[in-house]
Symmetry: C2
Subunit: 222 residues, 2 copies
DNA sequence: GTAATAGTGTCTTTAAGACACTATCCA
DNA sequence: TGGATAGTGTCTTAAAGACACTATTAC
């Protein structure tokens, strides 16, 4: 057996994103401990080798403990590893990005998350700005080719809400007719019984939809 | 400062792929040390916190030391982390995939790499079969939307060779006319002076090309 | 009726696929 | 000349974009 090298620190960091006032926002949390105690940073923590089965288990544990959130969509982004990213020494951050509908945050469950514009989260400790950037790129890239944008909405939504979500994820406006045609062709949504008004003032009621299956990718742009 | 948890083992594993007889192949290496000593596995090794600046540095060091290869295209795939993937304990493998032109392997530099079909690499230790699968999916996915396939060829290549490479990466045949039109529209190649024959028997000489820039993505399928 | 959003129809433009054709070389 | 691959032209098909139009509600 070859000599063992000093083991790096291993953490999990989560870029939790939502939509606030039509723009993407990242959720930050003031750090409990040194280094950077009290400074807003990505939601994260050590991997607990005694209780976490794998990295996803760590993510679930941390999201629940630190943000009071469960059942979110999340997926691994990539890892950031090196000597200089953490003052404690050589470290690995297995980065995830997670999406949460704003309705889940306004509910009582969420802890006091700081919501900052994803495009300008302010100065962040470690290499967290880079991680946020990677998450934004991933979301934008996947937005055009998958249904993940729907994870920023409640389970049931209107076609306009879905289109609006895609528009903020992609950062461009979409044609209503083309959007609906594409969604219909892809056959990923199913209608839900019930009616909905969008604002207080009067107008035509709307069909409600939900995803037929878990978020999935498709071959062509929206 | 919160209590420190037992630190996981951190390794880097590389899915080195090339083309052999028109099919994708993975390069394996017999393991020097326990566990699974002598068993073919992905090229990998511990992160050396004393000498590796970051994970990419570890990849470069390992590729050079264990395969005698330098200057390859490689990129991070994702990490695989958990309690049960390595008998030594909770571990993180930061997985990379790398592409190498077959010509570089046949040269004297390469060590004794085992080349196995990527679609059937045989039984592998740890979760290396899963990592190979992830690499194949990534290559296939990116193949249709990027120029990475060109990394499986020498710097200078013919249009037919490029098309052939795309065909093996994507696992489907492509129309010659459409392929050339697409390549021309994308304007990612530049002509190189010089002539080339493809086989021994006589035929028309061919224009040679090279990538204008580092591998990049485009918005639509090939 | 009007205001407001929901939803459709259709023409245009663009990209991809199919496939036959011509070009250029060597033996 | 024929064999072989290089390279082009053009028609068809499919998807995306533009944009105007109709529908249904509250008031």
């Amino acid at each position: 057996m070859q000599p063992e090298y000093e083991r790096p620190i291993v953490t999990v960091d989560i870029v939790l994103m939502t939509i606030v006032e039509g723009a993407l926002a990242v959720a930050l949390l003031e750090r409990d401990n040194a280094p950077f105690q009290g400074v807003p940073a990505l939601i994260g923590g050590y991997v607990h080798t005694d209780e976490d089965e794998d990295a996803e288990a760590a993510v679930r544990r941390i999201l629940k403990a630190k943000a009071g959130l469960e059942g979110l969509f999340f997926e691994q982004l990539r890892s950031f590893a090196g000597r200089d990213r953490d003052p404690r020494g050589w470290s690995v951050s297995i980065a995830y990005f997670a999406l949460v509908p704003p309705s889940l945050l306004s509910g009582g469950t969420g802890k006091t998350l700081l919501l900052r514009p994803a495009s300008a989260p302010g100065e962040l400790p470690f290499d967290h700005e880079r991680i946020v950037l990677a998450a934004r790129e991933r979301l934008r890239g996947k937005g055009a080719y998958s249904t993940i944008a729907a994870c920023l909405l409640p389970k049931v939504f209107t076609m306009s809400e879905l289109q609006g979500t895609y528009e903020t994820v992609l950062g461009e406006t979409l044609d209503q007719s083309a959007f609906r045609r594409k969604m219909k062709d892809l056959d990923l949504l199913e209608e839900v019984e019930g009616e909905k008004r969008q604002t207080l003032i009067a107008r035509r009621p709307t069909t409600l939809y939900r995803l037929k299956a878990a978020p999935s990718v498709f071959d062509r742009r929206i």
